[in-house]
């Protein structure tokens, strides 16, 4: 099994996996694409009724759910698209520049 930890932006061609295959699942977790966002949504917990309308629309699975309750944003992976702001009916998610 190729050690994916060896594969990185400065590795040589000899360290790459054959055909650039990835021999693990869920490796996108390792890529903190959340840093792409310059503006982030903000979660106002007091207004949230945990209807969970926001979770399925997030393209980056950055709204975790535990015991049927939504949790705080996973800012490591939230790219700040603002879709969740539009989905929330209760004003529990706000973001600069995104109107309801």
């Amino acid at each position: 099994m190729t050690d994916l930890n060896k594969v990185g932006p400065s590795c040589t061609w000899k360290d790459l996996t054959e055909g650039m295959m990835i021999y693990e699942g869920g490796t996108s977790r390792q890529f903190k694409t959340g840093e792409w966002a310059s503006i982030k949504p903000e979660y106002i917990e007091s207004k949230c009724i945990h209807c969970l309308l926001c979770t399925p629309v997030c393209p980056d699975s950055a709204i975790p759910v535990k015991d049927m309750k939504r949790c705080a944003f996973d800012y490591d992976h939230c790219k700040g698209c603002g879709i969740c702001v539009k989905a929330c009916r209760f004003g529990a998610i706000v973001m600069e520049g995104v109107n309801k």
């Binding site: 099994m1 061609w13 054959e18 055909g19 650039m20 021999y23 693990e24």
Partner: protein, 392 residues
């Protein structure tokens, strides 16, 4: 024990595939390769093989399905010709870049236009830089033998690349000729089981195939792929020698015919080599020191070794069965010339375009080439890129 038989080149390849019994064959018919999937689907229908035959709706789909099947861990084969290969273009590069050891039986046919169904090498030569290993056959026997060897080469450690097994459309594909076949058991033992280290259907391993590679990785990825093609060179030789120990028919990167003391030589690929051997014999009987090199493996290209084999010749005819439309050289012309230069061997070279669209190649045509070479060695030539057998 070998079985004596008489088969056409297409029958021979289909027979080899029956003996190999690959897991999946997606294919779409196109002349002159149609008979290969046609015969093979009969083997499937009769239960003589366990292969899943996928009748796809295009060659684009055939190669896509082949890539999918091979990624899933299935030993896969397809067959095509000419425009069919052109329609696989995008996938050819994916198959090699994804390091998938699938095999394509290519029956060489001219690319349109003008539209034509007969033999030349414009299809496979067009795809010569697609990252595939390319092996060519002079006869139905070689087409069969090369198919038996193909998976051993493709699946070898350090290679894992697709192999194109080429033969000349109609000239060998549809001509019935004597052939020696191996026993089924011998073929199965020689080819062996396919157990890829990674595959999509492996329940114990998760994998992603064909991920996007940003600029920071792409060049390293290509370099790694080039290394695999380099590794194929030694493997092609080793497998050819092992095959020779088993059958008495040994294969290398190219065949040298009467080259020991040759002062004039031609370099060519495919069925015309047989015709050219008769021309060499005829001229040898007249005391002329002539010989030929028949390239079997064009990718990877054994340039240094060909240059070494040509080191004592005064003039060499480089024979391309394709027009490259670059106003200077065909593939064999360019690559052999380059190899000769690297070896600092400055013999006269004449690059011929011949046999396009099935134009017949006669013993007399090859004799004419040698006459030209005798003259060029004596007087030099400015006309280094020319046509053979064209009406002027």
């Amino acid at each position: 024990m070998a079985r004596r038989d008489r088969l056409s080149g297409n029958e021979a390849v289909a027979e080899a595939l029956r003996q190999i019994d690959p897991d999946v064959m997606p294919a779409f018919p196109i002349t002159p390769s149609t008979e290969i999937p046609q015969y093979f689907s009969k083997f499937c229908a009769n239960g003589q093989v366990h292969t899943e035959f996928i009748p796809v709706e295009s060659e684009h789909s055939a190669m896509s399905a082949a890539i999918g099947a091979e990624s899933a861990g299935a030993r896969t084969v397809s067959a095509t010709s000419s425009a069919g290969m052109a329609y696989m273009w995008e996938e050819l590069y994916l198959a090699s870049a994804n390091r998938l050891p699938l095999v394509l039986a290519l029956v060489n046919r001219a690319l349109s236009g003008p539209i034509n169904i007969n033999c030349d090498h414009s299809d496979s030569m067009g795809a010569r830089d697609a990252g595939w290993i390319q092996i060519y056959a002079e006869t139905n026997q070689e087409a069969y033998d090369n198919m038996v060897m193909a998976y051993r080469i493709a699946e070898a450690e350090g290679v894992h690349l697709p192999v194109m097994v080429c033969q000349d459309g109609f000239i060998t594909s549809h001509a019935v000729q004597n052939i020696l076949l191996m026993e089924d058991k011998e073929v199965k033992e020689f080819v062996g089981e396919y157990n890829p280290e990674h595959s999509l259907l492996d329940p114990n391993g998760v994998m992603s195939v064909g991920p996007y590679s940003i600029t920071n990785y792409y060049m390293e990825a290509r370099r790694a792929q080039a290394e695999a093609l380099h590794n194929a060179k030694a493997v092609v030789k080793a497998v050819g020698e092992e095959f020779g120990r088993l059958t008495g028919r040994s294969y290398g990167w190219f065949e040298e015919y009467c080259m020991e003391d040759a002062e004039y030589a031609i370099v060519l690929i495919g069925s015309a080599a047989g015709t050219a051997k008769d021309a060499v014999d005829k001229l040898r009987a007249e005391g002329k020191k002539v010989g030929l090199i028949k390239i079997r493996m064009f990718r990877p290209f054994p340039g240094a070794e060909i240059a070494e084999a040509l080191k004592n010749v005064k003039a060499v005819g480089l024979m391309d069965r394709t027009e490259s439309f670059n106003d200077c050289a065909g593939p064999i012309g360019a690559e052999v010339s380059s190899a000769l230069f690297r070896a600092r061997h400055m013999c006269e070279t004449i690059n011929y375009v011949y046999g396009l669209g099935g134009r017949d190649v006669r013993v007399e045509d090859i004799e004419k080439v040698f006459e030209d070479l005798f003259d060029a060695a004596e007087n030099g030539t400015a006309d280094y890129y020319r046509y053979l057998g064209v009406r002027e």
